[in-house]
């Protein structure tokens, strides 16, 4: 694996499968009475969150703590965009505190990339969601969840059909999933009204569709994305009701799915908008399991980046070991 995890594109298929296998081991830990490994004892993981995201932050926090790392939560709401302390100065502060890994959530696309490549910090940088760019650990936990359901017994996701439905334009989850799932051999179809698909999506190597009903009967996974009601004020669609009718997953549409098909959502859900309550709470829904898997996958990522297990981590980590 590379030194940083900034984009799902940073992962080769071998890397991604290593993360999934490691996550499987980490997950089995959850069933033990003592849920803690000493792997990252003495290491410091900083959660640097410029945006509110309680669920992602506590997921990373739980992951780091179960690996015995020291965790510092740095909530820096009000980034340099609002004339607060700059990203650079925050980074220098963390560097001075001796962070081994910085988990960063930022409203600006590319902020983790800047953190990793501007010479401000020497630690590993993990992108926990940047603007409308990427959210690679979400894609890993989604892939892990699919893998557990659809590819048991050492199988793969080759040829599995995944429909990602909703506001692709503004979704970092969709971008990371489109990249990672293709790396893992799955066939991805992005479903949205034309206004919510990015320009140039033809180059992503994915299928696109404006017709949800045509796509989901063939899908093995239906992943619903959150759609903010405010988007209708910017004319991305006329009304919330029209959006729900055309692109929402309700009980009627759920009945057209294959028996094994699972329904996913990265959360937070807008019930009644992109997904109805009966679907979200149905047996097909693995939405709660996604949260559990998130901790296991983030443990795997931190472990692989920081433990030197793959032999590719940087020299400063080994200095810290001394």
């Amino acid at each position: 694996m590379k030194r940083h995890l900034l984009s799902a594109a940073d992962l080769t298929r071998d890397d991604a499968e290593l993360v999934l296998r490691t996550a499987e081991e980490m997950r089995s830990l959850a069933d033990r009475p003592i849920k803690k490994l000493p792997a990252l004892r003495g290491r410091t993981v900083v959660n640097l969150f410029f945006e509110d995201s309680t669920r992602t932050r506590i997921s990373f926090e739980a992951a780091a703590k179960r690996l015995s790392a020291d965790v510092i939560n740095f909530s820096a709401k009000g980034s340099s965009l609002s004339k607060g302390e700059s990203l650079k100065d925050t980074a220098l502060t963390l560097e001075a505190m001796g962070a081994d890994a910085v988990v960063v959530r930022h409203g600006a696309s590319g902020a983790p990339h800047r953190l990793a490549h501007s010479g401000w910090v020497r630690s590993s940088v993990v992108n926990a969601g940047d603007g409308t760019h990427e959210h690679p650990t979400q894609a890993l936990l989604d892939a892990f969840t699919m893998w557990r359901h659809l590819a048991q017994d050492g199988g793969s996701l080759d040829g599995r059909r995944v429909a990602i439905v909703g506001d692709v334009l503004h979704s970092r989850v969709a971008r990371s999933n489109a990249l990672l799932l293709q790396t893992l051999g799955a066939e991805v179809t992005l479903v949205a009204p034309p206004t919510l698909l990015p320009v140039g999506i033809e180059a992503w190597g994915v299928e696109k569709s404006y017709d949800l009903d045509a796509v989901i009967p063939k899908a093995d996974v239906v992943m619903m994305l959150r759609v903010q009601r405010e988007r209708m004020n910017a004319s991305f669609f006329p009304t919330a009701r029209e959006y729900s009718r055309r692109y929402g997953l309700d009980g009627r549409r759920m009945r057209t799915l294959q028996d094994h098909t699972i329904v996913m959502h990265p959360g937070p859900m807008v019930r009644g908008m992109e997904i109805t309550a009966d679907v979200a709470d149905s047996d097909r829904s693995v939405i709660v399991e996604q949260v559990t898997n998130g901790v296991a996958v983030r443990m795997a990522v931190l472990y692989l980046l920081l433990s030197g297990a793959d032999g590719v981590t940087g020299t400063d980590e080994s200095e810290n070991d001394a």
């Binding site: 590319g110 902020a111 800047r114 992503w204």
Partner: protein
Amino acid sequence: MSAYLVKNVSILGGEPTDLLLEDGVVADIGADLVADGAEVVDGAGLVALPGLVDLHTHLREPGREDAETVESGTQAAALGGFTAVHAMANTEPVADTAGVVEQVWRLGREAGYCDVYPVGAVTVGLAGEQLAELGAMADSAARVRVFSDDGRCVSDAVLMRRALEYVKAFDGVIAQHAQEPRLTEGAQMNEGELSGRLGLTGWPAVAEEAIIARDCLLAAHVGSRLHVCHVSTAGSVEIVRDAKRKGWNVTAEACPHHLLLTDDLAETYDPIYKVNPPLRSTADTQALRAGLADGTIDIVATDHAPHPHEDKDCEWAAAAFGMLGLETALSIVQETMVDPGLLDWAGVAERMSYAPARIGRVADHGQPIEVGAPANVVLYDPAARRTVEPAESASLSRNTPYAGMELPGRVVATFLRGKATVLDGKLQ
């Protein structure tokens, strides 16, 4: 006043000859000139061009003297071979009154490195709501002829029409920053496959082209002159070409960075490449070069836009738009236009001196190097190569996108009315 005798220099790439600059004018041209007391400059291998004229410079003074001052900006201009620059109006306070434009004009005179022609704002405070006192600026000591809300678009069609009409009274021109505001809300980079992938809000070509098309139609309708700032797309070149074919009085500029750099540089997320309008595709750079070669694009203008370090040493979305340009413009024109054979040195003189002076109605600049003409001359060594080193810039800012890049050519000397502002590549 000192005199300079330039030996064996090639005027616009012609046969080597001697060139005598004395008493502020070109005193003599010919073989084996002798002039007692004149400082002799070896011109062998050098091209003599008329002093360059920039129609689009941000000098930042008054208001942002941390980024640039009139003095530092004109020093950078002189090092780049310019003898005249037009200072854009988006200062703090905005250059929307006779008082501010006269202040900028006076600062330029005091600095003495190059003549400064202030650009007046079209609307009060660049707010796009009410015309500024265009006539007062035109009648002031600064004699403003170019008006622009650059940085913002005069997007209101009625206001644009009135501005185009009004400046006819004093032979002014509206230089439009063509950017449809609603289509570019939050825009960060060229809209395309890459903007979608990087999650950076797109700045679509149509937002530029729609305004240019509208403004060409407006200018034709009211019979006014229109100048289009920093044309960046192939579609814009087509629209301007069509307007010229119809005989409309439209001129256009291209910036060096849009001739050379492309949007894939955004993949680094390094905002040193963030500029407005944004870097576009390779096809766009090719169309701009072709347009500049055939005269559709009348001039090269730098859009020199200094910013302090902290405004670029941050995440992309938080960074300021703009890049330095004065000291590298001629080299980039050589690289993109002269060396590939698209433009000869006479063409460079036209695009970077004569035409911008005509558009800006600047009488004392942009004249051919002939006996009796003002001695505004630049000596340029096209055979030199240099690696751009930001710390060497005379600008107070360091936001050059060309750092570490090897570029052809070097300005050896710049003369402003016969006085050397640059000699041996160094400020005087």
